[in-house]
């Protein structure tokens, strides 16, 4: 394709493309496309978190449906992302709901659920049994144990999983443009269609930049959301060593088929 792309006329360059909107074939400026991508992703992530985290926490507390999380992750890995987006857009079109936002948001929700569910389940199940036993001995009810003991202990892993999930959601949102949606992916698809090499490059850099930015922002926020005693102590070598097991747990397996 590079040969084809090189043939196109006007030798603009990448920075000219970024700054001069008359070069672009896509209507809508960059900030508004970024905004579209962001709100699709955040909405999808919020819905997925609202469904997956409480469900997984309750089921894990009562040790029910242990196989479900493995199955969810495996199935999520097996089904290609492209399929999920395409099928939802198709169904939505056939029912007259248009290209977006719902088909895309629903597809993203389905993509975000497996890592959130699986990691929350693991985290709550593996919360220190001594702490849970102590809480029970103090007369806390089961729901209080879940809310006041198990969930705080599970926060590092849940937040790490959330970070993986939201990064994947932002990355996948770009695929929506392949199926008639809007968002940053439009620059890539339109660029390929118009054989505009700079548009493709700019789109790719914007998509990648947004994903990495969201990842970094979430990482930064995460550090303040983890309860203080669970934060890895930054200073001495000994503290690093002591916190190592927690840290290796806190990096969850980014399951769900690396769907970015």
């Amino acid at each position: 394709m590079s040969a084809l792309l090189a043939q196109t006329g006007d030798p603009t360059n990448f920075w000219q493309w970024m700054t001069d909107s008359s070069e672009r074939t896509v209507t809508g400026d960059i900030p508004s496309q970024v905004w579209t991508t962001l709100w699709h992703s955040v909405l999808a992530f919020a819905i997925a978190a609202a469904i997956a985290i409480p469900l997984a926490a309750v089921l894990a507390h009562f040790r029910r449906a242990e196989v479900l999380s493995t199955w969810l992750v495996n199935i999520g890995r097996l089904i290609p992302t492209v399929t999920i987006v395409a099928v939802f857009v198709l169904i939505s079109l056939r029912n007259g709901y248009g290209f977006e936002p719902w088909p895309i948001v629903i597809a993203l929700v389905l993509l975000a659920i497996p890592p959130l569910y699986a990691n929350t389940y693991t985290a709550v199940r593996d919360a220190s049994p001594e702490a849970v036993g102590a809480a029970r001995a103090m007369g806390l009810t089961e729901l209080e144990i879940l809310r006041q003991v198990e969930l705080p202990l599970a926060t590092p892993l849940i937040l790490a999983a959330s970070r993986v999930a939201i990064t994947q959601v932002v990355a996948t949102e770009a695929l929506a443009a392949l199926f008639g949606g809007t968002g940053l992916g439009q620059y890539i698809t339109f660029g390929i269609a118009n054989r505009d090499i700079y548009e493709v490059q700019a789109g790719a850099i914007l998509v990648a930049g947004l994903a990495i930015t969201v990842d970094l922002v979430f990482w930064f926020v995460t550090r303040f959301l983890v309860p203080k005693p669970l934060r890895p102590a930054p200073s001495s070598h000994r503290a690093m060593k002591a916190s190592r097991p927690t840290r290796s747990i806190a990096i969850p397996t980014p399951s769900l088929g690396g769907n970015p």
Binding site: M1, S2, L5, V67, W71, R77, L78, I79, P80, T81, V82, T83, A86, V87, V89, L90, I91, R94, N95, G96, T167, V170, A171, T172, A174, L175, L178, F179, G185, I188, T189, G191, I192, I197, V200, Q201, G203, A204, I205, V207, A208, A211, I212, D215, P254, G257, G258, N259, P260
Partner: protein, 255 residues
């Protein structure tokens, strides 16, 4: 998991999928009219004169080719990276951060930008390989790290050299974890190859895009089902390798 439970789960899953297809078929048309003229799936539409089983086979081969090449290159690169991590501990954070950043970059962006500099095939291989690095390296390192100290001491006691110890003790004991990593990476890549259809590389996902562009849902179902079957088949093959490669661990590998 007992065999009975496995069977129950499988039956449940098949039932669920069948119900899903049926429900999608029911709800996906505006009216009975749409249902009749353009249903989601119909056997007669599966193969036509120009879309033959040979074409399906060709696409499967392309898909497989991309997957196998990128996973193989990924294994070699990850072996080097994990060797570096295991030898020089201070490189650990740097290498894992590097692999993590590569993993964060959206595949569509990577395909697009690489295809403006390289041939499409090279671009796809580079992109897919870069996604396997995180999964593979992490599993390689975790596997070798988990080798019990007693085994290492025994190997030293027998007078093995560093290399002998690695080849005869550490790698065999880490084999289950290593192969799990390879399995996960392979299944992941099979799914990701679908996105490489964006840069016109063939593979099974061409069916999905074709079917979408021509409003031809049967093709989309074909592409999806073929991709899933390919992924499951590769998964089973690697599980088989795992079973053969670790004859002493058939109890422990339940993962």
């Amino acid at each position: 998991m007992t065999t009975r439970r496995k069977v129950t789960c499988a039956v449940l899953a098949v039932g669920l999928i069948a119900f899903g297809i049926w429900a999608a078929n029911r709800i996906s048309g505006l009216s009975e009219d749409t249902q009749a003229t353009n249903p989601l799936f119909r056997w007669e539409y599966l193969f036509t004169r120009e879309r033959t089983p040979e074409e399906l086979w060709q696409n499967t081969r392309e898909h497989l080719e991309l997957t196998v090449w990128s996973v193989l290159i990924g294994i070699v690169l990850s072996a080097v990276l994990s060797a570096l991590v295991l030898r020089f501990r201070w490189l650990r954070a740097a290498i894992f951060t590097f692999a993590g950043v590569l993993y964060t970059i959206p595949s569509i962006a990577l395909f697009a930008i690489l295809s403006t500099y390289n041939s499409n095939f090279t671009a796809a291989i580079i992109a897919l390989t870069s996604y396997t690095l995180l999964i593979l390296t992490r599993n390689f390192v975790a596997g070798i790290d988990a080798v019990p100290q007693a085994a290492l001491d025994a190997a030293d006691g027998l007078g093995m050299s560093r290399v002998q110890r690695l080849a005869k003790v550490e790698i065999p004991l880490a084999m289950p974890v290593i192969l799990t990593g390879i399995r996960v990476a392979t299944v992941t890549v099979v799914g990701l190859v679908g996105i490489s259809a964006v840069i016109q590389l063939g593979g099974l996902a061409t069916y999905i895009f074709d079917g979408y562009n021509r409003n031809y849902p049967t093709l989309m179902v074909l592409g999806t089902v073929a991709t899933i079957i390919l992924a499951v088949a590769l998964d089973l093959v690697i599980r088989g390798v795992e079973w053969v490669a670790t004859p002493w661990a058939h109890r422990r590998v339940a993962r």
